[in-house]
């Protein structure tokens, strides 16, 4: 492996050139925690070298966040500062590209009063809704990447000596992001183009359903009419192509909320509300979870499913080959950017509207009637493994192989 600063420069170049695809003359806003400063600074450098007119960083600091929970008045958590989300919305409207560096300590707020955490999260979510709305309609070119920090690395590598953990996590990130290839920018363009081809192929085939078969799994899920397959490769409202996640390994589409039959068994643990749910089985009838069992964290799983009507139904199906770099690492990253790209997954809860043609014109009622799912939650659950087969089922009932033994079969 090359020295850390060489690899950070590569990650920054891929982030700017393939991920956000920063355009000459564009402004760039980077969101980063102080712990991600070395990567954030490289991203600023790369943005300018790509022709950015101005690149700035909106910093946050886990320790400042934590101090609030430790010391602030207990009745003060129902407000959040408006200037940060308003700045984001404003800069997006003014044309800035948005680059988010994820480096969260999964255990930062562990041990803090959970009612305060929930209250603060609700207040922040209310204020960031206008930003989320802009992101979801790709108002600008954006990307999420990741930076290793000591705290995050301690969670992923608890058994590695403390002085070596962060370097190990960086190594895992660099391997997951194909930065060890000779020309990472070119490797990423090729990789994303292949994912796009697969999505295009499935869009042309217009399957009626997918059939999952593996140890403990025999599940058929109908696809929503008008469903569309996507990779993380998108195009902004201004016409700039970008890749929203680095790494990304998935292609994904919208299931029909009323058409799931059978049983599916998890293949990786899921971190939910700070707790781990592992080795679980879900049984579906007419699209709805009717049974849920887990060797660990069953109560948390049941709470998730009971959140609302949509939380017991599917909102996303994603295909990820078992030999992707992330899957081969065998790691649980406690970070969605990696964990959702480690294996085929199904999501309970909210469907992504853009994965159904014309769904952005429908109100919630019409969307649900068309087979789309609405919920306050969206939880990716890993079901892929080297023992999973998936077939596409055509409208006339033929089965065509999509994955065999966890690998692409089309």
């Amino acid at each position: 492996m090359d020295p850390l600063d060489t690899m950070l420069a590569r990650y920054a170049d891929v982030t700017v050139r393939v991920g956000a695809n920063v355009q000459p003359g564009q402004e760039v806003l980077v969101r980063a925690d102080l712990g991600a400063a070395p990567l954030a600074r490289e991203v600023v450098r790369a943005a300018y070298q790509a022709g950015a007119r101005f690149a700035d960083v909106l910093w946050s600091d886990d320790q400042v966040t934590l101090a609030r929970f430790q010391y602030a008045p207990r009745d003060s958590f129902d407000v959040a500062p408006a200037w940060k989300p308003e700045t984001l919305a404003r800069l997006i409207d003014e044309g800035a590209a948005l680059i988010t560096i994820a480096s969260e300590d999964p255990d930062l707020l562990r041990g803090q009063p959970q009612d305060l955490v929930a209250t603060a999260q609700r207040a922040a979510a209310r204020l960031s809704q206008p930003v989320g709305e802009r992101i979801s309609r790709s108002a600008t070119n954006w990307v999420i990447v990741a930076a290793a920090t000591d705290a995050w690395a301690a969670k992923v590598f608890p058994d590695v000596p403390p002085g070596e953990r962060t370097a190990r996590l960086w190594q895992a990130i660099f391997e997951a992001t194909r930065l060890t290839r000779a020309d990472p920018v070119s490797a990423w363009r090729t990789h994303v183009a292949r994912l796009d081809e697969r999505a295009a192929t499935l869009n042309a085939r217009r399957y009626d359903a997918l059939h999952y078969r593996g140890p403990g799994t025999d599940l058929t899920v109908g696809l929503a009419p008008g469903h569309r397959w996507f990779s993380a490769s998108m195009r902004s409202a201004r016409g700039t192509p970008f890749v929203a996640n680095l790494p990304t390994e998935e292609i994904f589409t919208m299931p029909h909320r009323g058409r799931a039959e059978g049983v599916v068994r998890s293949t990786r643990p899921k971190s939910l509300a700070g707790a781990l749910v592992d080795d679980f089985t879900l049984t579906f009838r007419e699209g709805r979870v009717v049974e849920a069992h887990a060797a660990r964290g069953e109560e948390v799983l049941r709470q998730l499913i009971a959140t609302d009507e949509g939380a017991a139904r599917l909102g996303e199906l994603a295909l990820v080959p078992d030999r992707s770099p992330i899957a081969r690492s065998g790691l649980l990253f406690y970070n969605t950017l990696f964990d959702e790209n480690a294996a085929c997954h199904i999501a309970l809860g909210m469907a992504l509207r853009f994965t159904m043609a014309g769904a952005d014109q429908l109100d919630n009622e019409a969307f649900v009637a068309a087979g789309g799912n609405v919920s306050a939650v969206h939880a990716d659950l890993m079901v892929g493994s080297a023992a999973l087969d998936i077939d596409g089922i055509t409208a006339d009932g033929r089965a065509e192989p999509l994955l065999r033994a966890g690998e692409w079969a089309f």
Copy 2:
């Protein structure tokens, strides 16, 4: 000396309790560079412990600033991001206390194209004018403190081994800020109260002029009619007392722009536009500099004086005793917060309006007619030493001792 984190906690407590004097239920905004993170985090903690409702940090990063000068398009420097000054103005208007941590690397932009630096500074100054206006009328309680960084320490202690410099600068800051006393908060309250008493005494005496006598110095400066003496102890528009600088050693007032006669010799070097001006002499006639000589940096000094009409006249007189902790350190900090509190100084250029009764109601023309000085610059020049005597001259011509051999004499 106690361990660094103990001293940082003390500095933070003095900053919050004596400096900004954060009020229960108030919001707090801290401005800090990433290099000042350890102190900034302690300030957030101290703010919450003082009852702040919410404390946030608006971070900046010298390395991100530098990257712009290294890599950004050469024609892009005439704009600055508006969201930072607008956020500051907004939070001040909403009632937030403002705590600024100064930690600038004096040489950060050395070697960058000076025309770009000047263009960027003009653009930033235009945008920050509404913030400056709020600060100058004390719209909220605010304070400036300082944090040692490697880059700054390298400038102050070039002859100390690199690994020891930052600790040395912290030590100098802690001594300058009286944090080595048993009860720093109480020591600061006592110190500021004494400065306020001296200012009140001089306000009652209503001197007509000050007479400076020392090696190479024999200068009489008239005081503006309606002049008022101040310490850094102020009261915000909302009625909260605060101390705007930590450390602070000075009391200061407004000279008459047309009444300076004689010669004054510098006692400490002055860092101007990145260059050092040292061992210089200014000769005044009718308030105006008519001769300027310097053993080092004479050209830079002449450029300063030639900036505009007001740059050749005085805007501030400040009294600082020669045995203040900063003066005793003998250091040049390359930072106004310290250097202007090291010795008696006179400032060429802009006068501070609040140091003349009623001046905030005057337009520039009327202000100048009343003896106030207007200029685009304000340069503090150190003239104090253990050999300086200063007298107050009464309206009827009597001389009363204010400083003798550099120490308070009233």
